[in-house]
């Protein structure tokens, strides 16, 4: 709270820009624990969604829909049937099926160039030859001519093509998976705009909603530059990832990180995670994975860096992340100034309307 008034002094260090210790900035005494966070390394994510399930179980997050007509709420776009983060989805595994005509992939997209393998397109990936890998469609009852097992794919109408490709096409396929979560921003728009103080900065530098304070005004919802927090229809409160605030106090790691079988979700002190991420990035670049990049790692970005940051294999927007988010309150001093000047103008206009007295 100490920062609220410097915020209008023009220097505004705490509304944007790098901030080494958000907890102290929020009024915690100097001996609070170190800032913690997530480093989500999407290059090893297998899209198993264990994180989504573990999060729901630990945090007792209810079913995320009320539409009984669509019981399973299939999105129909990919294996991702969660769709996005929300009041009842605090982890969301994005699933991107990146298919492109054979030979058009570039190193930047993990494709194959000049015979040199880059990225995560394994050589001879089920190369999805159109026309069903040379098999002719057969009947399930017919035994394969050469004995052996029945190729179930070949039994599908298009001989295994199953709508994934045009008949004579050869395509490169790449799957991108990423477990998204609240970024626990250094400058959190949701927290800044919360009028009740329900959202607060914890001693761990994370951002948490106090459900017993939240009155469901909904201001945090459009103020998050990542579209994370949302109001739950059933109880009217705003909800999002707490980075398992209750577990942290007991020295446990968050449920999602615990459940992740590939260590794609790493939990720890933020400075250590950043060092680990930098090392991982260098390693991948060394292996020719030029498309690898860190997202939310830079403390100079528009939100002062994220507490939960990512290693991505494509542009952020491909994963549904904003490419260059800026916390809205960075411009708030200017907005207040504009509004105050306009208010003075409006008052003057009312007075001026009485100019000249009675006729």
């Amino acid at each position: 709270m100490t920062n609220l008034f410097d915020a209008f002094s023009g220097t505004a260090p705490s509304l944007s820009g790098p901030l080494p210790d958000p907890s102290t900035d929020a009024g915690w005494s100097g001996d609070h624990p170190k800032r913690v966070g997530f480093f989500t390394d999407t290059s090893v994510c297998i899209g198993c969604k264990a994180c989504e399930v573990a999060c729901k179980e630990w945090n007792l997050v209810p079913d995320d829909g009320t539409d009984a007509s669509d019981l399973y709420r299939l999105t129909g776009m990919s294996y991702d049937n969660t769709g996005d983060l929300g009041a009842s989805s605090w982890r969301h595994v994005a699933f991107i099926e990146d298919v492109r005509p054979h030979g058009t992939a570039t190193p930047a997209h993990g494709g194959q160039v000049g015979g040199q393998q880059t990225g995560f397109l394994p050589d001879g990936l089920p190369a999805v030859h159109g026309g069903g890998n040379g098999h002719t469609p057969r009947d399930a009852a017919t035994a394969p001519p050469d004995g052996g097992t029945v190729d179930l794919l070949a039994l599908l109408p298009d001989g295994g093509a199953h709508g994934q490709q045009t008949p004579d096409d050869e395509r490169d396929v790449r799957w991108l998976m990423s477990s998204d979560v609240c970024k626990h921003c250094t400058h959190a728009g949701c927290l800044d705009v919360c009028p009740t103080g329900a959202l607060f900065r914890t001693e761990y530098g994370t951002v948490v909603v106090q459900d017993d304070i939240c009155n469901g005004c909904g201001y945090c919802v459009p103020s998050c530059p990542y579209g994370v927090i949302d109001v739950r229809e059933s109880d009217g409160g705003a909800h999002k990832c707490t980075l398992c605030y209750d577990r942290l106090g007991e020295g446990l790691e968050p449920a999602c990180a615990k459940a992740c079988p590939t260590n794609s979700i790493q939990f720890g002190d933020l400075d250590e995670l950043q060092a680990a991420a930098d090392a991982r990035l260098a390693e991948l670049h060394g292996r020719g994975v030029q498309e690898a990049r860190l997202y939310g790692r830079d403390p100079d970005d528009g939100v002062g860096g994220d507490g939960a940051f990512f290693l991505l294999l494509d542009e952020p927007e491909v994963y549904g992340l904003p490419p260059d988010p800026i916390v809205t309150t960075r411009d708030l001093p200017e907005m207040w100034r504009n509004a105050a000047l306009t208010a003075v103008g409006l008052g003057a206009a009312v007075v001026a309307a009485f100019w000249g007295g009675r006729k």
Binding site: A7, P195, N215, Y226, A343, L346, V350, A353
Partner: protein, 364 residues
């Protein structure tokens, strides 16, 4: 067959940096039923996650929030008209202004509380004062304003009753108190009329955020048109000159600033060119123009003044609904997030290459 088509479409939705997929952004957007409207800004290419929204659209209720903005604006300028109307011996204007200020403030408060998803906890708003939260600041503007305005209106009602009953001393005291609280509400009023612009622009909604230089002026104009319009409806021809001036000036400012805003928004202004926001803004402009012309020509007739006032109030309300709708549409459009942010990144990258100051104030 259609199923196959849909599936083979899928990869294209992600777009590639090269090849025919380059135009997929525009393809997808055309698919959304633009009905061949001509836009000022060419469609930009962008990639996204299955074309899904990136930020969450406001969950604020419609019509609660637009109506709150309208009523707040109406109350904001009415308080001034009421107070100055009283000071300059315009009793009908004073009465109208005072009642409109109280009615607008109380009605607005009701809508604001009803908009909450947990209305029983509205008092939690008063736990803290946070300058970083326009809603908190707004609560602290609205609460005293509504208190003063309601007290003023109560004095306005009670004074003649007391006088009739012969309690002249008490009546005089009450009039003084009413004048004082009326003056207080008139002073707070302009803040109530403009803070709502900050409420909207201090979000990640691109069309609102990027309009943060224009919205206060649009909303101030809208508040003047509403309050002035109300004055024209309620005040006698003898008393309505200030209301007419304020209303016409407000309508002119609102029309001009709205136009400038839509233009300067560029790509982000496309939400004002299509869908419901477009219809609402068009209707708003028509009402404002008609009301302003009607006021200039017909102020001296009671009925035409009142009709013009109603048109101006309708125009003011429609602007609020239009801006609200435009924001929802903007938040739901991934292009509004990706395209400007990409541009910003590219620009920053190129200026960094040239080793000159980055365009984006704080960030290199």
């Amino acid at each position: 067959m259609t199923g196959h088509d849909a599936n083979t479409e899928l990869p294209e939705r992600f777009g590639h940096a090269e090849g025919r997929a380059n135009d997929r952004g525009s393809e997808k957007r055309r698919g959304r039923g633009r009905k061949g409207e001509q836009l000022q800004v060419p469609e930009a290419e962008f990639r996204s996650y299955y074309g899904r929204p990136i930020i969450k659209a406001p969950v604020w209720k419609n019509p609660d929030v637009p109506l709150y903005l309208f009523l707040g604006g109406l109350a904001a300028t009415s308080a001034g008209l009421g107070a100055l109307g009283g000071a300059t011996d315009r009793p009908t204007l004073r009465r109208t202004g005072r009642f409109a200020a109280a009615g607008g403030a109380i009605g607005g408060t009701v809508f604001l509380i009803h908009d909450l998803h947990r209305p029983a906890r509205f008092l939690h708003m008063l736990r803290v004062f946070k300058p970083t939260s326009p809603l908190s600041v707004g609560t602290w503007i609205l609460s005293p304003f509504a208190t003063f305005a309601a007290a003023t209106a109560a004095a306005e009602v009670a004074e003649p009753v007391l006088r009739r009953r012969g309690a002249t001393g008490l009546a005089r005291l009450l009039r003084r108190a009413g004048n004082a609280s009326g003056a207080a509400s008139a002073v707070i009023g302009p803040a109530l009329g403009t803070y709502t612009a900050v409420l909207f622009s201090n979000t990640a909604v691109p069309t609102w955020h990027e309009a943060h230089r224009h919205l206060p002026i649009v909303f101030a104009g809208s508040a003047a048109a509403a309050g002035g319009g109300m004055g024209l409806v309620g005040a006698s021809v003898r008393d309505n000159v200030p209301a007419a001036r304020l209303a016409v000036a407000g309508a002119a400012v609102e029309l001009a600033a709205g136009e400038v805003m839509e233009r300067q928004l560029g790509l982000l202004g496309d939400v004002y060119q299509k869908g419901r926001a477009h219809t609402l803004m068009r209707a708003s402009k028509a009402c404002l123009a008609a009301g302003a012309v009607g006021t200039v020509l017909g102020r001296k007739k009671r009925w035409s003044a009142a009709l013009s006032g109603l048109a101006l109030m309708a125009g003011s309300a429609l602007t609020r609904f239009g801006v609200f709708d435009a924001g929802i549409a903007s938040a739901n459009d991934p292009a509004h997030i990706v395209v400007p942010q990409r541009e910003r990144l590219e620009q920053r990258r190129s200026t960094m290459d040239q080793d000159v100051a980055p365009p984006d104030r704080t960030f290199a």
